[in-house]
């Protein structure tokens, strides 16, 4: 089982000039925790729920007056779609992130979260192929 089979295939993006408020709205609406700023590309930035809460809300800064790109992390932590789950889990640990973007060349094609890794490891156990 490779990453492509375990990931969530939708990569949600917002425009580079969007505000943090726009990002919050989109995350809540889509029930997701991270958004790519700009096109789904490995050179784009990413804004997470953690960034919003710690860098904006907790500091009393107005989300409507702050651009999402100002608090985004760049470049995104990503891994090739043909990589294995162990490699992905290791990269998550090294980068201290809860989800990692999946790339096909320069294009981002999905997101792999810790839950996805755990679920995939359970499936592999059930199939009798322990990979994680």
């Amino acid at each position: 089982m490779n990453i492509e089979e375990s990931m969530t295939a939708n990569v949600e993006c917002i425009d580079t000039d969007s505000s943090v408020y726009d990002a919050i709205e989109r995350m809540v609406d889509k029930r997701i925790r991270s958004l790519i700023i700009g096109p789904p590309d490995i050179n784009s930035g990413v804004i997470t729920a953690r960034d919003v809460v710690f860098k904006v809300l907790a500091r009393g800064i107005s989300p409507k007056d702050t651009k999402a790109s100002e608090i985004a992390s760049k470049p995104v932590v990503c891994i090739d779609k043909n990589a294995g789950l162990i490699e992905a889990a290791t990269k998550m640990e090294e980068s201290n992130v809860a989800r990692i973007f999946v790339s096909d060349g320069k294009k981002l094609v999905g997101v792999l979260s810790m839950i996805d890794v755990m679920e995939s490891s359970l499936i592999l156990r059930a199939r009798g192929t322990h990979a994680v």
Partner: protein
């Protein structure tokens, strides 16, 4: 080993067990063919496999009521077979709707993903049945089936949202598309039911 302890592994029982495995293997083939057929012209093969599945289902039910297994196990084994048959029906319905259908570009990737997950679920069901026959634990397998089902549910949510934005040219085109998505995304629910029923059979053997 439980199965072996409870039933004397006579010819009739062995025939039913072989046919149960054959039934689910046919389902795996149908799901796999369906997955490959999205983007090709293999759908008629799926319909043929459903007919083969029907034959195996009749044989299992007939053999069970001809005296295979203890009487208390017979209704559950038949119910399990009928649930598998319901999955076959849904795969066939999806294949029928698909034959003259042009699927919008925005939906195709999600449809392929659901078809692939359905395929994996049917394989997991086969692994579960094999484990039960050998007396193994089904807990991990049942969990894997539930994980797959949740993944399909997540895609279904997006798919239905996208579906509402797709422009259709006639009532029948819209109906076919709606029926196709409905059948495709319901397959996982019934496979999950089959997995749950297998658990019930396994528990009743203790």
């Amino acid at each position: 080993m439980l199965f072996k302890k409870i039933i004397s592994p006579g010819k009739k029982e062995q025939k039913v067990l072989d046919n149960l495995l054959k039934h689910i293997k046919l389902l795996c083939s149908a799901c796999e063919t369906f997955q490959k057929a999205v983007n090709s012209k293999l759908m008629r093969v799926v319909i043929d496999l459903e007919r083969d599945g029907d034959i195996v289902k009749r044989q299992i039910i007939s053999d069970v009521y001809d005296g295979a297994f203890l009487p208390y196990l017979r209704p559950d084994l038949c119910r399990f077979t009928i649930i598998i048959d319901e999955v076959f029906d849904l795969v066939e319905d999806a294949a029928f709707s698909y034959i003259d259908l042009k699927i919008d570009e925005s939906l195709i990737d999600d449809c392929i993903r659901v078809a692939r997950l359905n395929c994996r679920m049917s394989e997991m069901l086969l692994i579960s049945l094999e484990a039960m026959i050998k007396g193994g634990d089904l807990r991990e397998k049942a969990l894997a089936i539930r994980i797959y089902e949740k993944k399909v549910d997540d895609i279904k949510f997006d798919l239905l949202k996208k579906l509402r934005t797709v422009k259709v040219n006639s009532f029948w085109e819209g109906k076919d598309l709606s029926d196709f998505i409905s059948s495709l995304t319901s397959i996982s629910d019934i496979i999950e039911d089959a997995g749950d029923h297998l658990q019930v059979i396994n528990v009743s053997l203790r």
